[in-house]
Subunit: 127 residues, 4 copies
Amino acid sequence: MQFASGQSIYLQISDYISEKILRGDWVEGDRIPSIRETAVSVEVNPNTVTRAYAVLQDEGILQNQRGVGYFVAAGGREAAAALKRREFEEDELPRVFRTMRLLGMSLAELEHLYERYVTEEESERHD
Amino acid sequence: MQFASGQSIYLQISDYISEKILRGDWVEGDRIPSIRETAVSVEVNPNTVTRAYAVLQDEGILQNQRGVGYFVAAGGREAAAALKRREFEEDELPRVFRTMRLLGMSLAELEHLYERYVTEEESERHD
Amino acid sequence: MQFASGQSIYLQISDYISEKILRGDWVEGDRIPSIRETAVSVEVNPNTVTRAYAVLQDEGILQNQRGVGYFVAAGGREAAAALKRREFEEDELPRVFRTMRLLGMSLAELEHLYERYVTEEESERHD
Amino acid sequence: MQFASGQSIYLQISDYISEKILRGDWVEGDRIPSIRETAVSVEVNPNTVTRAYAVLQDEGILQNQRGVGYFVAAGGREAAAALKRREFEEDELPRVFRTMRLLGMSLAELEHLYERYVTEEESERHD
DNA sequence: GTGGTCTAGACCACC
DNA sequence: GTGGTCTAGACCACA
């Protein structure tokens, strides 16, 4: 895992876990890697992972059993989707639309960029 | 002016100035409010405004005449537009498109949200 | 059995057993379920149940006959009652009274809540 | 400040702050001691105080200004009161009433204990 | 000066 | 083994 600057590592980790659950890699009731395992695999301090997991537990995405581990909570996927959608629609999209107006970018142009993005994604998948 | 958490205040201020110029509120050669005036009006430490103006000067959007004040630079509007567009296309849009895929949101749905945004904007303007 | 977070599971189990004895579900000399049986029924590691039983044995509530099982000790019910009362009066009530003052809650209001609690209990019993 | 065992220090600190606000020692908009100041005064590591403040910020009791400090949030006192009352009525009181029934303790007896508590408090105040 | 984050390392209770 | 907490110390961005 590569960390971008500009966002804290623990948030990048919680996003990463959250997206795994969104994609269905881990489903309700699955035990996810322990704090220590994740710490080793992403090469950060266990404390940092603890913080990432705590965020997800607060959001109702993870659940933990003392001395056992962390699990995808009941309704965890829905919680993750709801959270991501809410952040997207309430924070990101308004900013995007506002910028479009400022730049005088039309919806058609946005669609064009979207299609370009999709094709680029496709080609990367073939690497 | 309201400050969102999560982004530094000086960047929020420089964005605010930059958008004023993009909208044409201030045009090439206009003197913009002094650091002190802005500091008072947005209720912030003058150091913070200084930093915001410095960013804009670096980008070629503002120009400083010592002892006189800050002015919209020659080509300032174009510089602001270019900067905003670059940030938008390189940073924000890829993130947006990625999230759309993750949420399974179609381009049609995005257009729908865009239209809703536009109508909301319209109605707010009538307040 | 549902486990609340915030208190260790073994203590929740020992409370649960203790209350069974207080209510008279199990009386002096009764053999209570084996560690394994309880472990299965409450879906917990046998080690955890062992610890819970050990606590109760320490308090003189249970008695162990090696190879046979655990029994409600002579005077077990009284021991359980004394323990619970002590914990209640020394730990819980002072905290409760303190919070009442902090919230400005009167004794009358407390009585009101008590009556509501009792009626709710009644109605649940009819389910 | 003395810390009891059984509850984590950071929660004891957040309770302490919360009660200060409930009592009106600090009111809306007041700046509370910085993380470092509190860390010194209660003799714990700044990280621990950070965690306590973060809890209160999550609850809407505190609010922070980057680089300036923590403040009692708008509606902070109400948030603190609501939180405490909710925890009290939903968690603590049901447990109390349940124990009363188990011990066969009457409301009259509880009142008696309450009066004793109040008089003890009074006499302590005269020390 | 402020808060925010991260690391390293320790100890604990618990399962 | 698991997670939870705490410390010490560091570095950073920010006001």
